[in-house]
């Protein structure tokens, strides 16, 4: 029963979405049903976010209580969750500092703490990419050499300084890189990947609808 009911729900939900595609949503009952299913999905999605927050809070709280390794960091996580969540949950009618509007505490914490920290983490990539390029990007064989030449040309083409330098060699060179490397070789490969992934997704969806694939039930 614990397996059959979720499989039936998945099958019916999927069939509603598939069948509704072929009917006019305003003239058929399926359209209304589809809209209801989509509303439920957004509501369930909201609850899964809540579940995630509760879960991370619980796990970290236990670790702090039991003084596990690195409990200090976990305490910072807990304080951060509360500092962001509490002012955001309190209605902004009480004070403009509450809620998620402009000039609220949440807004300030996001703009001046969260955003710079995320940007810093992302910016670190520049250092690691340079290091990796210097140490590992070697012309060891023909394929690697071709990749190296293509990458160098694209990197030059993507910045104004490089573009001018390329145009000095030949005025049509920057456009040729866009046409033949990006719009030619790159696009052909990307299309293959996209079509392959789409076929895989369709096959997986069918397996879920028919109840063959049950890993989402933890099986």
């Amino acid at each position: 029963m614990r397996t059959i009911v979720p499989v039936i729900i998945a099958f019916l939900s999927g069939m509603v979405m598939i069948l509704a595609f072929f009917f006019d949503p305003e003239k058929s009952i399926l359209g209304e049903l589809e809209q209801n299913v989509l509303s439920w999905v957004t509501i369930v999605g909201g609850f899964t976010l809540l579940l995630g927050v509760v879960s991370i809070f619980r796990v970290n709280l236990i670790a702090v209580k039991r003084r596990h390794d690195g409990w200090g960091y976990k305490l910072v996580t807990l304080i951060s969750i509360l500092a962001m969540a509490i002012p955001a949950i309190i209605p902004s009618k009480l004070s403009p500092l509450f809620g998620t509007g402009t000039d609220s505490i949440y807004d300030w914490l996001f703009n001046y703490l969260d955003a710079p920290m995320m940007a810093t983490m992302f910016a670190m990539l520049a250092f690691y990419i340079s290091s990796a390029a210097f140490r590992a990007f070697r012309a060891r064989n023909t394929e690697a050499t071709l990749l190296l030449i293509a990458a160098t040309l694209v990197m030059l083409w993507r910045v104004p300084m490089g573009e001018i330098a390329l145009a000095y060699i030949h005025p049509d060179l920057p456009q040729a890189i866009n046409t033949y490397i990006m719009g030619g070789i790159n696009m052909a490969v990307q299309r293959g990947i996209i079509i392959g992934a789409a076929l895989g997704a369709a096959a997986m969806s069918l397996r879920i609808l028919l109840g063959i694939e049950r890993t989402y039930l933890g099986k």
């Binding site: 989509l38 250092f127 160098t152 300084m161």
Partner: protein, 298 residues
């Protein structure tokens, strides 16, 4: 000619410290010399403003022309599908798009599929630009905010926006917002301008463009741009802005040079430095290999 001389000067500037630092990295196997070099080439062009003329790519021209061809007072859905980590690349795109849309008196509907900061970023950027163009919230622009599960949100908005978003980002019911009176679903939206740093952009194509025939154009991070070429070529995507360069191109077209245009100097220097480091890394690799062979033979 002046541009070429400038490039030669900057290349010498790049090559000399780069050669020293790369040699030290290679000899000592200490990556910190390389990190110093990267920091220098990113910070230097910001402190000493280095600028080069930005040329326009056909993909960004297509996007600009598609937006420009919209009749005045059209309704445009602008998405803020990006995290704060990629603000340097994506926010200039949103700002340039808003300059263009507000100049054309378009009605702008903003939406985000990113829970972490998405609504905050869209609120901040849109209100900032709206103030500049004297636009009124509820009449000229509306921020719908975030709703969980983007696939359902994108699909649901095709039938009824108010069913998915009963209220805007600040909690005002859509029925009380004048601008939303005649915007029911994608049929009432003339253009969808997606700015994204993740795979959501493909859902805007597979769900919204393919199933509802909406006109979709996008601005994405440089790392995502190669994938989107396939959709631009098939005509499913109307134009593309790729990374900070794409943002700088759009800024140039709308006549509002901003942070992307300023960032081109730093990006140019960093790219050239990486190219120099790849070439020198390979040179050292081949010299080492040759020496190794000689040693083996002797």
């Amino acid at each position: 000619m002046l541009e070429v001389l400038k490039i030669v000067a900057y290349t010498i500037l790049i090559c000399i410290p780069a050669a020293v630092l790369l040699y030290l990295t290679f000899k000592t196997d200490d990556r910190r010399y390389l990190f110093i070099a990267v920091a220098f080439y990113v910070v230097f062009p910001v402190v000493v403003t280095i600028s080069f003329p930005t040329s326009l790519s056909p993909e960004s021209i297509t996007l600009y022309e598609a937006v420009d061809a919209l009749p005045d007072s059209s309704t445009v859905l602008l998405t803020f599908d990006y995290y704060a980590s990629t603000l340097a690349e994506t926010e200039p795109m949103s700002r340039a798009a808003l300059h263009h849309l507000f100049k054309k008196d378009c009605r702008v509907l903003t939406v985000t599929t990113i829970p972490l900061g998405g609504p905050t970023i869209s609120e901040r950027v849109t209100r900032d630009l709206a103030e500049e163009y004297d636009k009124v919230y509820g009449l000229d622009f509306v921020n719908l905010g975030y709703k969980a599960n983007y696939v359902a949100v994108l699909k649901g908005m095709g039938s009824s926006i108010s069913a998915i978003y009963p209220a805007d980002n600040s909690g005002t019911p859509l029925s009380e917002i004048p601008m939303m009176a005649d915007i029911k679903n994608y049929d009432d939206i003339d253009f969808i301008y997606v700015v994204a740093d993740n795979g959501i952009v493909e859902y805007w194509i597979s769900i919204v463009q393919s199933q509802y025939q909406a006109q979709v154009g996008c601005g994405v991070t440089a790392v995502m741009a190669p994938k989107i070429y396939a959709y631009v070529s098939s005509g499913q995507m109307t134009g593309l802005l790729g990374g900070m360069k794409g943002a700088a191109e759009y800024e140039k077209m709308v006549g509002h040079p901003g942070s992307a245009t300023q960032g081109m100097g730093a990006q140019s220097m960093a790219h050239l430095f990486i190219i120099v480091s790849v070439i020198s890394g390979n040179l050292m690799f081949f010299i080492d290999r040759k020496r190794g062979r000689k040693r083996k033979l002797s």
